[in-house]
Symmetry: C2
Subunit: 226 residues, 2 copies
């Protein structure tokens, strides 16, 4: 019988100490030669499973991450999105009905990298943080399209609720500006950024300064609670 | 066999001459007594059908609207979203497997009301523009939840590309402010609004003034092309 299967793919983003936005990818063994393929962590939704519940289960199973900011952003349903040769090999090994159509719901997880140590499990042979500039172009299925759509979604949600999940609890204004620049993909004027960000975002200066820098350590800031 | 069915529901919004944001609802006959129920126009996705293609087909079939701004905004998948008594009656008449789970993808259509005259067809007994303040609380399935999520989505997308689809081609600044107020659900200061909107939005004044008002007709504005 012709049937549409439903899956969830998770785009996990983190902001690293070296000021790069990184995606958490899994490596899958796709054939008997043990060839590896990069993919977003994803899996099928259970028949009685709520979508948000499924997204948490899948993320945990494949990356060992839990209790993170996780939001649905877009659903991908091209009829041929799993039909490419490179993907059919893997599906033939792992799926009962590899030829059937799969519609996938994209979820975005935003992670303070300082808090989480992801680890591999299930069919994820390895997990790896990859800078979004260096993501391999030939990920599984349409995962490159999902990643790009996710970045676009994040750009449109450029606000407190979202970006506070990417920054360390206390951060410098340089870190904040760099994160904005990465997501918006454009350079921002330092003076204007500092002047305006303090007006529009709910940020306050702490009495602490950054550590481990040779001179003029910058003040640390944090998001206010309300 | 247990199977997840996939459907699309369309939240069609228009902005009317009387300055209200309205949703286009269909009325469905849900039982042999010809009782009517309000619903968003929606239907199942075909096995080989692309999601965007399906959304256009469904909107056209149920409301006769075509060539409108139509964007996916969120996917709804509570396992019991079609299991309520009120919905099972209708499903029993129209669906082969009424008990099966249905996950639905929400699409938003934004319509210049001056341009379109929707009409009923397929299983939509009637179509009706209903002010979003007066939408019946007991629409089919989870359609009230879908509507609320759609308004929230629109609020977050408050920009040119989106709201230009709701306004007439030429509009007054009062109309523009009123539309902002409805979507944001808050009153805005007139002077600040006028000052700031002309900075951030790509709007220019035409040489025309509104017609049919007793005195001091306001200038009409339009969105610039670039």
């Amino acid at each position: 019988m012709e049937q549409i299967n439903l899956s969830i793919d998770c785009l996990v983003l983190g902001y690293s100490d070296d000021q790069k936005l990184k995606a958490l990818l899994i490596k899958k063994i796709i054939n008997k030669d043990n060839d590896l393929q990069y993919a977003l962590p994803g899996d099928l939704v259970g028949y009685n499973e709520d979508l948000n519940t499924a997204s948490k289960r899948i993320l945990k199973n494949l990356t060992s991450l839990s209790d993170v900011f996780l939001k649905q952003f877009y659903t991908f349903g091209h009829p041929n999105r799993t039909k490419h040769k490179k993907d059919q090999d893997w599906l033939n090994i792992y799926r009962k009905r590899p030829k059937e159509r799969v519609v996938t719901i994209g979820y975005m997880a935003l992670v303070k990298m300082e808090d989480y140590k992801p680890g591999p499990s299930s069919f994820a042979f390895e997990v790896e943080w990859v800078s979004i500039d260096n993501v391999p172009k030939n990920m599984a299925f349409d995962h490159n399209i999902i990643l790009n759509k996710g970045i676009e979604f994040l750009r449109n949600q450029m606000n407190n609720e979202f970006i506070s999940n990417l920054l360390p609890r206390k951060f410098t204004l340089s870190q904040l500006q760099n994160l904005h620049e990465i997501i918006l993909n454009q350079k921002l004027d330092k003076r204007n950024f500092r002047k305006n960000i303090l007006k529009v975002e709910n940020i306050k200066r702490t009495e602490e300064r950054q550590e481990g820098v040779p001179h003029k350590p910058a003040f640390l800031y944090q998001f206010s609670k309300n």
